[in-house]
Amino acid sequence: MAEKPIQGEKRVFMTGNEVAAWAALAAEADIMYGYPITPQNEIMHYWTRLSPKFDRGFLQTEDEISAGFTTCGGVLSGKRAFTATAGPGNTLMQESMTMAEMMRIPLVCVVQQRGGPSTATVIYSQQEATMTCYGGNGEGFRIVYSTSTHQELYDYVIKGFNTAWTYRFPTFVLGDGYQAKMRESLHIYDPATKGINMVATEPSLGLEGTPGVDRDPQHLRNTYNTEEELYEVVSELVADYEKAAPEIVEYQTFDTDDAEIVIVAHGIVTRAAQAAVKELREEGIKVGHFRPITLRPFPANELKEIASKAKKLIVMESAQGQFDRMVKHAIYGLTTPIEDYFKPGMGITSEEIVEYVKKGM
């Protein structure tokens, strides 16, 4: 067994793509399957440089359809397998992600959102929120962590593997092109030093013993014959997901206790929102910020409570209302006014948030 990739803990300064590769390495990921697309490609660059030193595998597939399905195969074999993609690649990967939902395949996928629709830009957006949470023909039985810093990217890739293997739902770490390409400091660490034990994996295929002789064979399927049969299976998925959701859901609040105005944002936009809240508070403006860390499951109750006490919500995102729909669905029934601040495919800065909030007062 090769040495641990990271001994103890250390401060580093690197891009988010490099962070993702190191995190997967630290999380004892066994194999990555992937197909290059900007801006996630350097995850593969770093993984292919680092992984051979630690006996980990890699396969570059012919497209993202294959990347997703080979990842399913790897996980079914009992390996801590993962993939990463963005934009049009994420679109192609949705097919395999529905198989992972249906068959409870605990794969991990890092998404570095780029501009859309279509090829659009390779730079940045938050336009893959709907697709990552609900893509494909299904019900969105997934776990989606929306990260905002390199530290979180590192933490949640590691956590993502454990969440996936604990609850057996496909788990996404939703980053973006900024997080992929920017450099900032963070601490990388061996999970064990933080008391984090990696959840054991187990194979669903290729088990020991001769099937039919020593044991029953594994006959895994995602096709059902009747409406009733499918309904039963999906109902079980619903029940399991709903049971797990309260244990999985995560969020953060900033100065929301007495906030009259609450900015609701996720992912990297939360950085701008946090900075803006700090600045506005210094001027005595009662503004707060609510940030879901998990978009699936969504912290609906927590947001509802805060929203019910506020005079106004401002939903801010680098997309045309994808996150906004989740917010509105979560707080349905409240009469708190909601303002939308949408910048599809564009970054949002703290300066513009400060300006916007002041203008509306």
Partner: protein, 249 residues
């Protein structure tokens, strides 16, 4: 006095009679596969993957660990398993639609990468499960639900020559053959060689089996055999296309 049906040992008797139509060629291809698994003694190591289309009905066919995936995606799923568990003998089972249409990029690239897996493809000249539409392998002039006046090659092209294509893009070490359910013993031998090729770790192995679809062809037993034995071989030549050089003893 024999009392038990003479099924391959690797077949799962609890799921028999199987779900394929009367006279369906899948039963024969899977019989040949079952016999090959038995003769090689690899039942404890096989991971079997199947596609959508009629081939999905084989998901519980064998006493081997099996997984059914989406249309065309069996090759990548099985590739993923093989890459994660090189000690397993991984078989991807599909029809002509799954291998030559919706999953063709996976077949081509798995072959080009020389994945150490075995792909077995049943060619019955049409899409069976969805009700007899044109497949990449439908013959010129053949009437299907989407070529009701006969397949016009000017409009829809000529039948895909799968093994020929795979043979052209694979390197030494690959095994490629086309068998037929009209000769189960030969088909079994081809499949056995294909699996043996994987056991030895030589490279990609691929067997296409000419197969029958009496339901969608609307043929009786006589015409089914006539189509398989007389019509299909005019376009699809049965035989081995590629085999690794014999190892020096």
């Amino acid at each position: 006095m024999s009392k038990a049906p003479n099924m391959p040992k690797s077949w799962r008797e609890e799921t028999k009679p199987h779900k394929f139509c009367p006279g369906c060629g899948h039963g024969l291809v899977l019989k040949a596969l079952g016999q090959a698994i038995d003769e090689l003694g690899i039942q404890d190591r096989v991971v079997f993957g199947c596609d959508i289309g009629c081939s999905l009905l084989s998901f519980d066919f064998f006493n081997v660990d099996s997984v059914q995936t989406h249309h065309g995606r069996t090759t990548p799923v099985v590739t993923g398993v093989k890459r994660a568990r090189p000690d397993r003998i991984c078989i991807a089972y599909m029809g002509d639609g799954g291998g030559y249409a919706i999953g063709s990029q996976h077949l081509v690239n798995a072959a080009a990468r020389n994945e150490k897996i075995t792909v077995i493809l049943a060619n019955n000249c049409n899409y069976g499960m969805t009700g007899g539409q044109m497949a990449p392998t439908s013959l010129p002039g053949m009437k299907t639900e989407t070529t009701p006046y006969g397949r016009d090659p000017e409009v829809t092209g000529y039948p895909t020559q799968g093994p020929e294509m795979v043979s052209a893009i694979t390197r030494e070490g690959a095994y490629v053959a086309r068998g037929t359910v009209a000769n189960v013993r030969q088909l079994k031998n081809y499949i056995k060689k294909a699996l043996q090729n994987q056991v030895e770790g030589n490279g990609f192995s691929f067997v296409e089996a000419l197969s029958g679809c009496p339901t969608n062809w609307s043929t009786n037993a006589k015409d089914t055999w006539a189509f398989i034995e007389e019509t299909m071989p005019k376009y699809f030549k049965v035989g081995e296309l590629k085999a690794p050089a014999k190892k020096e003893e």
